[in-house]
């Protein structure tokens, strides 16, 4: 089937198998390997991207379902070479160790902070419930997201 998608601002047109998962399309066809596959069942959150601005688990969507959609992946989050405040926050607060879950968590958090710009610790922890991290115990992820929220409030542009 033919699909047209815009990924990180670039238009793509591809003929794909109907059963191809969106995450495999991004990883294998477009070679955007920052989006990871951790469970194929939408539970671990490693594959989280933005579809039309909303955080979405790309292992649970077919590529054909994304036809006509605008997609943003971790590779498209920084703008003009400037890291997104969340990317800065994760580095600053040691919010990652092995880094495998990190892109998915950052993409989830980017959507979350758009909705809840000044979240409490409890709200951040609740927002993270669909993303697993086995390395950090979540402690520094919570701090990273808080750090980013504070920076974004100060007016650091997204």
């Amino acid at each position: 089937m033919q699909i047209n998608v815009k990924v990180n601002g670039v238009d793509y047109h591809h003929d794909v198998e109907p059963r191809l998962l969106l995450v495999h399309y991004l990883r294998d066809t477009l070679r955007l390997t920052g989006t990871h596959v951790g469970c194929e069942t939408s539970l671990c959150g490693s594959c989280t991207i933005h579809v039309n601005g909303k955080a979405t688990k790309s292992c649970s969507l077919l590529a054909v379902q994304a036809d006509g959609c605008e997609i943003k992946t971790i590779e498209g989050l920084a703008s003009n070479g400037d890291l997104h405040p969340l990317q800065e926050g994760f580095k600053e607060m040691h919010g990652l160790q092995c880094g495998f879950c990190t892109p998915g968590i950052i993409m989830m958090a980017a959507d979350f902070l758009g909705q809840v710009p000044d979240p409490s610790e409890e709200e951040i922890r609740y927002a993270l419930k669909g993303n697993f991290c086995r390395c950090t115990g979540y402690h520094n992820i919570v701090k990273s997201i808080k750090h980013a929220a504070a920076k974004m409030k100060e007016g650091v542009t997204v």
Binding site: E17, R19, L20, H24, R27, D28, R31, L32, T33, G34, T35, H36, V37, G38, C39, E40, T41, L43, C44, S46, T73, I74, E75, L77, A78, L83, Q87, F90, K91, E92, H94, L96, Q97, C98, G99, F100, C101, T102, P103, I106, E121, E122, I124, R125, Y126, L128, K129, N131, F132, C133, R134, C135, T136, G137, Y138, H139, N140, I141, V142
Partner: protein, 797 residues
């Protein structure tokens, strides 16, 4: 510890982060080689079954299929080996049946591989795997280790009587321990299950095997914690291919926690078959395969008794454990419940008589091996549960009971190391210190008041303690060799100073989240007095790193870091000779500080970069000195390192439902000298939550048919962010006396200390409400806690 430019001891932000936060990390599954094919496996749906026939006819005709191999095709290839030999009490060697790459005759656990299907695409390989027809004859199944040794139990391997791989003991003779126990005024007894866990690194295992026919050379990309070890095991023990014709690369790896140490069958299979089809083959586990096949952790059934005199002094410890090994011996499967477990039975206490008896048992389950802490969490669980329970039973304060029994402080320099009853000699320790700090952070006196008030208001608050020790820095080769290790456990560190003074460091350790690219660079830059940007850490490729034993057992900095320091010392020594020649002084009069070689007592000096350039452009140069500035060292430690600490959990138990809420978690850890406090703290956080996960949430369960009923994230409860509070951490520093950095290791501490603290806290909460419960089977779900409060005891595995 000393620093030349302030880098050692600083929370330097990680240099590896940029690639991960921008999506530019490169994990094995991110690699696509030209002409790459994909493998999918046909796996046994039964836990124990004869394989009558495997029909690949239909599958072979499916679109895109390149080749299909079955157990019969690999029957003549060796199995994957066990890296550690354990002996029976009578001296007989452990039973070590073959772990074949794929099975041809019978499957011994659900998921045992029967056929490998290779096709042009991932989907075609999976389609064709489904078309392979296997005829089985089901056999009786055994999953529980204590059941499996009973007469008449089904045999996992026909030639292993009673399913017993080994029957092992350590410590004082049993008769002596029995005698000491008889003198005890009080004996605390616990019978419990330390449940099976699934490691759950978020990156599933992934391998690409490829063969370059022109150069007759194999390459294996693998999500491993130890590329050189995989190469050694695969070449020398399994495939019999020459080591110098195999390159093993462990690129970015998405978490290991022990589960990526082992040499897995799929690694050898994709490598072997890549030559057969002369094309690269990738296999990446699905999450359900990760659950079924990544070596599991723990799974002990234990009875432990601790005897005390009337004042609460420990007189004796007696432990009997049945360790479930799974269907096959994994790489360190035999070592974990014995030499990484029995050797920790001294704990922090002066217990004079100790005996531990461990039976290693085969069952129709996934192999069990090291999982974060590996034997040491199980040992700590025994000791620390006994301590808190004994305190409740004897009505002594649990902190007081520990202070009374602690080994007195010793630094390993002015006071000798502490010789335990179970083979090890501790290097240095100050156990009173960590508990004192923990009590201060908790506000212990206030807490007990709050607890009383809460009980009066019908609320159950509890506090649990765990003062742990672990043996890390694995390990002195001669010692582990005498204990059955089939490999040396040194590490390799090469420091190559480039002509311009920039430095490339090659380490045999492998980073999969630990931040070596930062910590090791801090050490090198500090020791050489140069900026961190001038140092690059290279790891994970057997073609660039000379050799290595990899990362596990909290060993990387203590062993790998020490190897790097050894090479730096050689660089400095040679640099002094070059400087002496240029400055017309004696090498003995040259000192190296802050990146400069100086003639003592003068202002005559030469910078590090100038010396580097001179070494590569040796025009004005000592006559008998080789050019170049590049040294490699092997470091074999003198002893293990012994980090220790105090973990304290505070919980609230909801009376009506048994729901446990972790209110506070305090971790005071002494991991020796600290290079990067931020990274150490991060390691503690992660370990703590894994340990708390075991206490409250996680558990792998097999049904009586050997089906893993917790084989997905819907059934296996992973710790999530909203399950926990922030963790309160502190560190104490008692340097390791026997390695050059004075470091001990921080990777496993969190997972070792935390589990018993949480369970103890729940038991304490229940006692505060009058429920004198001794044990609740982990994980402590609401149902189990509630039932325990109603007087129901759950001990079934």
């Amino acid at each position: 510890m000393s620093t030349t430019n302030g880098l050692i001891g600083q929370s330097v932000k990680r240099v590896e982060d940029k690639r991960f936060i921008t999506g530019k990390g490169k994990y094995t599954d991110d690699i696509i080689l030209p002409l790459q094919t994909y493998a999918a496996f046909v796996r046994s749906i039964y836990a124990h079954a004869k394989i009558i026939n495997v029909d690949t006819t239909a599958a072979s005709a499916m679109p895109g299929v390149v080749a299909i191999y079955t157990g019969a095709d690999v029957a003549d290839i060796n199995g994957v080996p066990c890296g550690w030999q354990v002996n029976f009490k009578n001296g007989d060697t452990m039973k070590e049946p073959k772990h074949p790459l794929m099975v041809a005759d019978k499957a011994r656990h659900t998921g045992d591989a029967i056929a490998m299907v290779i096709a042009e695409t991932r989907e075609q390989a999976k389609d064709a795997a489904e078309a392979v027809i296997v005829d089985y004859e089901e056999l009786p199944v055994v999953v529980n280790a204590a059941e499996a040794v009973k007469p008449g139990a089904p045999l996992v391997h026909d030639d292993v009587p009673n399913n017993m791989s080994f029957d092992w003991e350590l410590g004082n003779p049993k008769a002596e321990v029995d005698e000491a126990m008889q003198k005890a005024e009080h004996i605390t007894t616990l019978e419990f299950v330390n449940q099976r866990l699934v490691p759950n690194a978020i990156e599933p295992r992934s391998y690409i095997g490829s063969y370059d026919a022109a150069n007759e050379k194999y390459t294996l990309y693998t999500s491993t914690q130890n590329p050189h070890l995989i190469r050694l095991l695969m070449c020398a023990f399994v495939l019999g291919i020459p080591e110098h014709k195999v390159r093993v690369v462990g690129p970015d790896v998405g978490g290991g926690f022990g589960s990526k140490i082992y040499h897995y069958t799929e690694e050898a299979l994709v490598t072997w078959a890549s030559k057969k089809i002369n094309r690269p083959i990738k296999w990446t586990a699905e999450r359900s395969e990760s659950f079924l096949l990544d070596a599991h952790g723990r799974d002990h059934i234990t009875k432990a008794e601790m005897g005390f005199d009337k004042d609460g002094n420990v007189l004796a410890l007696r432990v009997k454990t049945f360790a479930n090994l799974g269907a096959y011996l994994s790489t360190f499967g035999a070592c974990v419940p014995t030499y990484l477990h029995g050797t920790l039975m001294q704990g922090l206490y002066t217990t004079p008589k100790i005996n531990i008896d461990v039976t290693g048992v085969f069952t129709n389950t996934t192999a069990v091996d090291a999982y974060r802490g590996a034997g040491r969490p199980e040992a700590t669980y025994i000791l620390e549960r006994l301590m808190d329970l004994a305190a409740l039973e004897m009505n002594i304060d649990p902190a007081e009971l520990r202070f009374k029994n602690f080994i007195p402080p010793f630094d390993g320099v002015n006071q000798p190391g502490y010789q335990t009853q179970v083979a090890l000699q501790y290097d240095s320790g100050n156990y009173h210190g960590v508990l004192t700090t923990g009590l201060q952070m908790l506000g212990y006196a206030d807490f007990r008041k709050q607890q009383k008030e809460a009980a009066q208001n019908g609320k159950l608050l509890g506090v649990g303690f765990s003062t742990y020790i672990e043996a890390c820095g694995i390990a002195p080769s001669a010692v582990v060799g005498s204990l059955g290790a089939r490999a040396g456990l040194y590490e390799v560190g090469q420091v190559r100073v480039q002509p311009t003074g920039k430095v490339s460091v090659f380490t045999g350790a492998h980073s999969h989240g630990q931040g070596h690219e930062t910590t090791f660079a801090q050490v090198v830059a500090d020791k050489l007095g140069i900026p961190m940007e001038d140092v690059e850490i290279i790891h994970g490729d057997s073609d660039s790193v000379a050799f290595g034993m990899g990362t596990y057992g909290s060993r990387s900095l203590a062993v790998g870091g020490s190897a790097i320091v050894k090479s730096i010392d050689k660089i400095v020594e040679k640099g002094k000779k070059i400087a002496a020649h240029k400055l017309e002084a004696s090498a003995d009069d040259i000192e190296f500080t802050a990146g400069k070689f100086t003639v003592k007592g003068t202002d005559k000096s030469i910078g590090f970069a100038d010396i580097a350039l001179t070494a590569y452009v040796p025009h004005v140069y000592p006559k008998d000195l080789e050019p170049g500035l590049d040294f490699s060292s092997f470091y074999d430690p003198a002893n293990f390192t012994y980090p220790f600490g105090c973990h304290i959990a505070v919980v609230e138990v909801e009376k009506e439902t048994g729901r446990v809420t972790l209110k506070r978690f305090i971790a005071v850890d002494d991991v020796g000298n600290i290079i990067n406090p931020m990274i150490v703290e991060g390691q503690i956080h992660g370990g703590v939550i894994q340990g708390v996960g075991q206490a409250l949430l996680e558990g792998a369960e097999y049904d009586d048919n050997g089906q893993l009923t917790t084989g997905s994230y819907m059934d296996y409860c992973m710790p999530r962010a909203d399950d926990f509070p922030m963790i309160e951490t502190a560190t104490q520093v008692t340097p390791c006396p026997h390695n050059p950095l004075g470091v001990k290791g921080a990777g496993e501490a969190g997972a070792i200390g935390s589990t018993p603290a949480v369970v103890n806290a729940v038991i304490d909460a229940l006692w505060s409400g009058g429920h004198k419960v001794k044990d609740i089977r982990m994980p402590l779900t609401s149902e189990r806690v509630w039932k325990a409060m109603q007087g129901e005891v759950i001990i079934k595995n």
